[in-house]
Amino acid sequence: MLRIFLLLIFALSFSNSTKSHAEELTSQRQAALIHMLKHDCGSCHGLTMKGGLGPPLTPDALAGKDMDILSDTVFYGLPERAMPPWEGMLSREEIVWLIKQLKKGIPQ
């Protein structure tokens, strides 16, 4: 509970400081995010998310993995291990949305 609370505070404070909005992502932004996922994340994870230099991000591969940890990985990256940080380019909210899409499976 405390964790969720802290996360909320974090998300809120973040939404003030960056371009992220508290509202729902617009469908235009969603389309842009999916495009980015396929092509820019895809350059390492594969266009179909089946893996490449980076591991697969398919629903199977992500099943059971913790949202906070995954979103931290995307936000801060693991630079020594070739996963770049997306802080500054993607808001927390957008990252969570993207991971949800990945867990569902993105339409090909």
């Binding site: 495009h35 396929k38 092509h39 820019d40 895809g42 350059s43 390492c44 594969g46 266009l47 179909t48 089946k50 893996g51 490449g52 230099l53 990256g77 630079p79 020594e80 070739a82 770049p84 940080p85 380019m89």
Partner: protein
Amino acid sequence: MKQQITKILFILTFVLMGCSGSIRGVGDMGLVIERASGRIQVVETTNKTILGGVKGLGDLSHASAVYSRDGRYAYLFGRDGGLSKVDILTQTLVKRVIQGGNSIGGAISQDGTLVAVSNYTPGGVRVFDSTTLELVADIPAKGEDGELSKVVGLVDIPGQKFVFSLFDAGEIWIADLSEVAKPKITKFREIGEKPYDGLVTPDGRFYIAGLFGEDGLALLDLWNIEKGPRKILQDYGRGAKKLPVYKMPHLEGWAIAGGMAFLPAIGRHEILVVDTNSWEEKGRIPVHSQPVFAMGRPDGRQVWVNFAFPKNDTLQVIDVQSMKVVKSLKPGKGVMHMEFTPRGEHIWVSVRDGDRVEVYHTDSFTKLTELTVEKPSGIFFTSRAHRIGL
């Protein structure tokens, strides 16, 4: 009557002309990969047109191609582990096999009989008969740690050999396939942390692996392999302030001119210039953003550079003599790849998000034409058929 005959002759000439038009060479042909549609477009550079598409090629994100020595067949390496052989003259798919789980690139042997594919999963190299696409050799890339490693930077070198690097294990291997049934493998361990790509110099003498996990590159003199690899440019450094790398640079197609080599620095907004005799740093050229490809014009006078996300809308031209950026172009978002015509008068550029390929004159930098291609990425012309390491 006479008029009739003239008319018939006239028509006949046209018909015959039409026929002879269908016999053509492949020297001005090439292909463009449509990364999202599993299709390629076959093109020709004389009139700068699209000749036709070939589909059903699977996942072509990050796909690359090599050519048979007669330039007629392209071998495509897809992300889904597919190896496809395409006849570019007739624009037909000749054969397609799924050879691995996840492949990254390939190479063709000196004599054109063998096609090698490098795989991420299962980590290793598989070698195929270039005519039948039958598997002839399987080389799992088990590093010193006993784990299968992703394979990167696979190139051909003279003598039916292939050289490649093991990303996870940090090794360089040479596979000698002069006896296909008994591949001879020479392994170099601890060559550096996380090699991400490799290249061979156009003369086939030096193999260079770029390192992601540490500063510098690993250099192997293939004429003197007993000396083993050594590190070069160790101090170029990704610097105290390490920039995140959104896209691994590619070393293929780097430029060698006037005793200098130009290569993309990883995690820096620079092109590194190296002396190809001493292999010492000769300079750094500041550029727009993190470079992905640095491609030398065939005459070696210019180097064209594209950039990683999010600044991938730009293309810069370096003048080799002055080592300065002399031109910046903004073709649009997603400049993925570029390819020079065989003698370098034009360059073809993939603009992914604009669904087009643009053709520029390399002296005047004027745009000559645009072709509609869906999400284009790699462009590969048949002139690669006759170059070592491409």
